[in-house]
Each structure stands twice: as structure tokens, then as C-alpha cells.
């Protein structure tokens, strides 16, 4: 079993890099760290960067997960190969762009692209954004899956992922004491559904809801509270139809032996305990 140490970053392609940079700074509230012709990196916490926009096809998306050593990376590559999944090592240029010492990338059964990285950089300088959104860090990534059971099994058998809860067949998978770092939502296609940033608390989520409305950003779900993770959330649309969420509070699972994954029905109330509705297909539930 391979230990995932941390969720590190999300890389997103975009046709309009300046617009994406504007969104990440002015709306989302991240700090621009480096900008080249090809990519812009953004900081949200102690990590050098947690979001990257690169010039290119918006369908090019990858999620960076940290493994601790080169040996762990090699074991992961072998384990994936044994399960019929080919992992490709990154070249020097790819490593330099990611500020990591080693990496291998692979696709899950749905086609979502992951990058396992060794020794990605931490910043000695704290995060200092232009807008006071109260962001405390990258918290989770919600993914679409077309092979829910198989993708879930990938994280829970080859890797150290544990299912914290299910809502219908959507699985919330944790790697540390946070309720989830990956959420797999059954869908008709693959791809990143939402990138979730933690904020300090309720005040920041609610301030964001008024701020985003005044900035005419489309809010697609919330403000609300997830009965599963107990997180307060607000989900809104960014460039290239990518969703972003602010999340706050939420359950920590400190005692592994005491937690049992719970099955919630696929109902609107299972996604929001405050009663907010969503038109996002993965969260939308036809009441019948």
C-alpha cells in the first residue's frame, strides 16, 4: 500500500491565461507566485503553489499528490503496473515546472490524470494574498468518475485512501485526518469538478457569498453545510467551467478505529443541510 502524504496542487489548462490569472487573484484570493508565458502558479498556504494555470487545452487537468520518497514512488509505479495502469516518469523540464524532485503521472479508470510527486517545495515565506478571502489552504478536489467503483478501489486498495462517507455512490476519500481530500462523483464524463479551498470560518464563507454576488460570479451551490463532512461550503464557477469552493469548519477524523463510513441517500438534503439547491448535474437530485 502506497502512502499519499498530501494533496499538493491542481494544474489546469486554459485558453485565456490572463483571464484565469485575474480570476485566481482578484476573485479566488490566491497569491500569484510565478508567471511565465506557459504557466502561472498560485499560493494558498505553506506550499509553494497549490494551483497552476497553464496555457493550453482546458481538458488538460492534473492533480498532484505527494509521496514521501523515490522508493515509495517506484513502489507506486510497480503497483499501478500490476493493475494494468501505466505510470510515466516526468522529465527534467516537467519536474522544474512542478518544483519537485521526482514524479510519475498516470490516469485513473475514468481518465483523470494524477501526478505523484516527491519532495515538492514548501515556501519559507507565508502566503500573502491581494484580497483578504481568509484562505487557509487547498483542502480537497472533487472529481467526476465514470468508473466509480473501480476508481474508488484504486485509492482504497493500492493507496492509503479510506472512504469517509458515501452520498449515493459518490465517495469521499481521506488520506489524513481531514474528512476527505478527494471526492469521486459519478458522472457521464471524467474531469475535475471542483477545487476546494479552506477558509477561516463562517464569516469568510458568508462574506464571500456577498462579495461574489457583487462581482457577478455565478454561485452554483450554497452557502450550505454538508451533512457528510459537516463543512460549510460555497461553490462558484471559475474560468473554463471549473468550479471552486470555499469550505470551513468540518469534521476531523482523528480516531481511525472509531470512524465508520456512513451511507447517505442521494437526496438534496444529503448535499446540503441548510437547504441550498444546485443545478450542477453531479449534485442535482430530481425529487421523486
Amino acid at each position: 500500500m502506497i502512502e499519499i502524504e498530501q494533496l499538493r496542487y491542481v494544474r489546469l489548462g486554459t485558453r485565456n491565461l490572463p483571464a484565469a490569472i485575474d480570476f485566481a487573484q482578484r476573485i479566488l484570493g490566491l497569491q500569484l507566485i510565478e508567471r511565465t508565458e506557459e504557466q502561472a502558479t498560485f499560493r494558498s498556504d505553506f506550499r509553494d503553489h497549490t494551483l497552476v494555470y497553464e496555457a493550453g487545452d482546458p481538458a488538460t487537468q492534473s492533480i498532484g499528490l505527494e509521496v514521501r520518497t523515490r522508493a515509495a514512488l517506484e513502489r507506486a509505479v510497480a503497483a499501478l503496473a500490476a493493475n494494468g495502469i501505466t505510470a510515466t516518469p516526468g522529465d527534467a523540464a516537467a519536474l522544474a515546472r512542478r518544483k519537485a524532485r521526482d514524479m510519475a503521472s498516470f490516469r485513473d479508470h475514468s481518465g483523470n490524470r494524477f501526478e505523484l510527486v516527491v519532495r515538492p517545495e514548501t515556501s519559507g515565506w507565508r502566503y500573502f494574498p491581494a484580497r483578504d478571502a481568509g484562505v487557509t489552504g487547498l483542502a480537497a478536489v472533487a472529481l467526476r468518475t465514470t468508473a466509480n467503483g473501480d476508481d474508488e478501489a484504486l485509492w482504497t486498495t493500492l493507496f492509503n485512501g479510506r472512504v469517509s462517507d458515501w452520498v449515493g455512490d459518490a465517495a469521499f476519500i481521506r488520506f489524513d485526518d481531514a474528512h476527505h481530500r478527494l471526492a469521486l462523483h459519478p458522472s457521464a464524463r471524467a474531469g475535475v469538478l471542483a477545487i476546494e479551498y479552506a477558509v477561516e470560518g463562517l464569516n469568510q464563507v458568508m462574506q464571500a457569498s456577498y462579495f461574489l454576488q457583487s462581482a457577478q460570479v455565478k454561485i452554483v451551490h450554497g452557502p450550505g453545510r454538508r451533512p457528510s463532512s459537516d463543512q460549510i461550503f460555497l461553490t462558484f464557477a471559475g474560468p473554463d467551467d471549473m468550479l471552486f469552493s470555499y469550505v470551513a469548519e468540518g469534521a476531523r477524523i482523528a480516531d481511525e478505529s472509531a470512524h465508520r463510513p456512513r451511507q447517505f441517500p442521494r437526496k438534496r438534503e444529503s448535499f446540503c443541510a441548510w437547504g441550498s439547491e444546485s443545478t450542477v448535474p453531479e449534485f442535482a437530485v430530481s425529487e421523486n
Binding site: L202, N203, M206, Q207, S209, Y210, F211, S214, P223, G224, R225, A273, W274, G275, S276
Partner: protein
């Protein structure tokens, strides 16, 4: 000095007792305590009633405060008469209709009808709302004032109220540890400006926001958070244009010596630190 101990109840006249009752139960989430001829009593906490609707003119509104003893009630009557307020001593029948042992009624300088009551009825049965709004109890009233400085002086000098904060010229007044039990809002009329019930948590405020929105109840302010009392709030409109508020997390002022009132701006930022803008006449310039 009239020693007000806590805010007790609100009495509201209405031309549509049935409609008002439906609002108080199905929307607001109160429990019917008793239905009498022309009057419906509602429970929100451990008290026998904290709101009652009476068949009649919607302009007939009264708010009641509890005093500690019969002697205090008599002394208050004397003090008010000395200051030129006409004091009505409640009859036995009127006291019974208010579920109190004795009371007096008078008008504050703006003309708001105030009742001082002795031994208001406590209920042996706990409150169980019609819907799960998370209400923990009736907590404060906003009162209209035609002269904020004059009325602040009345409540703080003739009575025992202390200013906890001011939003513009509107004083938020405490009579116990709760940040405010009375708030005075400058306007050109007398009357109750809003009625507040506390709910358990911000979750309840937000759940009610969705619940009320879905039922086309007019939300007039919020969800938001007051920089003054730090309470999370939601204001909405009830029968006869009365504004009701749910809030959670009101500040308690335990140490009178350490606390100092603050001046907040009379604009949306002074009323809400989340960015909500009020659609309430008395909260706007």
C-alpha cells in the same frame, strides 16, 4: 430608577387573527400556548407566552418588561407619574389576559406602549415548536423613536438600561447580560420596529433563510452578522408589516466595569459585517 429585569412579551393587534396565527406557527415556528376569545398566545421558551396576537387594530402594540417585586411596580408607577407619564394600573381581568399577577401600562416619550409586569407566568411544559426552527426564546425588541437622544435618556436614567453600542444615533440597550434587549431606531412614528427570537446556531439561521425563501416570505435583511452584538441574523416580514428577526450568538456582557460601548456607522457596514444590505426603512438613511 425602574429596574427592568428582562423583556417578557409582545402584544400585537391584528385584523386577521387566523392569518397571524398561521404565520406565528407555520412560518415563525412558535407553539400555540392557548387560544382564547380574540386572543392567541404563543410560546417560544420556558415562559407561558412571549407573543400574543389580539383581534383588533394592528397599531395596538405593547411590549412588556418584568420588574422584581410588587413594591418595585408601585415605585415605578409613582416615578412615572412624577415625570408626567399617564400610568394605567392593570385590572385583574387585564392581568389575567397577560398571564401576570399585576401590571402597569404607560407610554414612553415616543408613545410606545410599555407594560411593566410582576410575576409573569412560567410554563411547566417545555417549548416544542410547530417547525424545527431551533428557537431558544424571545430575546429583544426594536422600538421606534422620534427622538433617539431623548428616549435613550428615558431608558438609561429613568430605567436601568445601559448603552451597549450605537449604530449611528440608534442605541442598543441592555438591561441584563444580553447585549441588548431594547434597540431604539429613529423614525417619524411610534411602534414596535422588530421582534427578535434567538435560535440555537448559525445553521438554524441559514436553514430558515432557505425555508422562508422557498415559501416566498419577504426577507428584508440578511443572512448577515451584526458587528455590534456579533449575532448572526435574518430579518423577514410578518403580518401587518411587522419585521421579525432570528439571530444566534448574541454577545453577553458579564463585566459591566470592563465594557465600553462603541460607535458604529449608520450604513450597511455598521449593521452587517458579511456584506448584506438592509431593506428595512429604519436601518437606512
Amino acid at each position: 430608577m425602574i429596574d427592568l429585569q428582562r423583556v417578557c412579551y409582545v402584544r400585537l393587534g391584528t385584523r386577521d387573527l387566523e392569518g397571524a396565527t398561521r404565520f406565528a406557527t407555520d412560518v415563525l415556528g412558535l407553539e400555540i400556548g392557548e387560544v382564547a376569545k380574540d386572543t392567541v398566545y404563543f410560546k417560544s421558551d420556558e415562559r407561558e407566552h412571549t407573543l400574543c396576537y389580539v383581534e383588533g387594530d394592528p397599531r395596538d402594540q405593547a411590549v412588556a418588561f418584568e420588574v422584581g417585586s410588587r413594591a418595585a411596580l408601585a415605585a415605578a408607577a409613582g416615578e412615572l407619574e412624577r415625570l408626567g407619564h399617564a400610568v394605567h394600573a392593570g385590572t385583574a381581568g387585564e392581568a389575567e389576559a397577560r398571564k401576570v399577577r399585576e401590571f402597569i401600562a404607560f407610554a414612553d416619550p415616543s408613545g410606545n406602549r410599555i407594560e411593566l409586569v410582576w410575576r409573569p407566568g412560567h410554563s411547566g411544559v417545555r417549548y416544542h415548536g410547530t417547525r424545527d426552527a431551533g428557537i431558544t426564546g424571545f430575546s429583544h425588541v426594536g422600538l421606534c423613536t422620534t427622538d433617539a437622544a431623548r428616549d435613550e435618556a428615558f431608558w438609561t436614567r429613568v430605567c436601568n438600561a445601559r448603552v451597549s453600542d450605537r449604530v449611528g444615533d440608534a442605541p442598543l440597550l441592555r438591561i441584563n447580560e444580553v447585549h441588548h434587549s431594547i434597540a431604539l431606531f429613529p423614525t417619524d412614528r411610534a411602534g414596535i420596529q422588530h421582534i427578535n427570537h434567538q435560535v440555537e446556531s448559525a445553521d438554524d439561521v441559514m436553514r430558515s433563510y432557505r425555508f422562508l425563501s422557498e415559501r416566498q416570505v419577504r426577507i428584508v435583511f440578511g443572512p448577515g452578522r451584526h458587528p455590534s452584538s456579533s449575532a448572526k441574523f435574518l430579518y423577514f416580514e410578518g403580518p401587518d408589516g411587522m419585521v421579525f428577526e432570528y439571530s444566534s450568538g448574541v454577545k453577553m456582557i458579564a463585566d459591566e466595569l470592563l465594557y465600553r460601548e462603541r460607535q458604529l456607522s449608520f450604513d450597511p457596514r455598521g449593521f452587517c459585517e458579511w456584506g448584506a444590505k438592509p431593506d428595512v426603512a429604519e436601518f437606512r438613511n
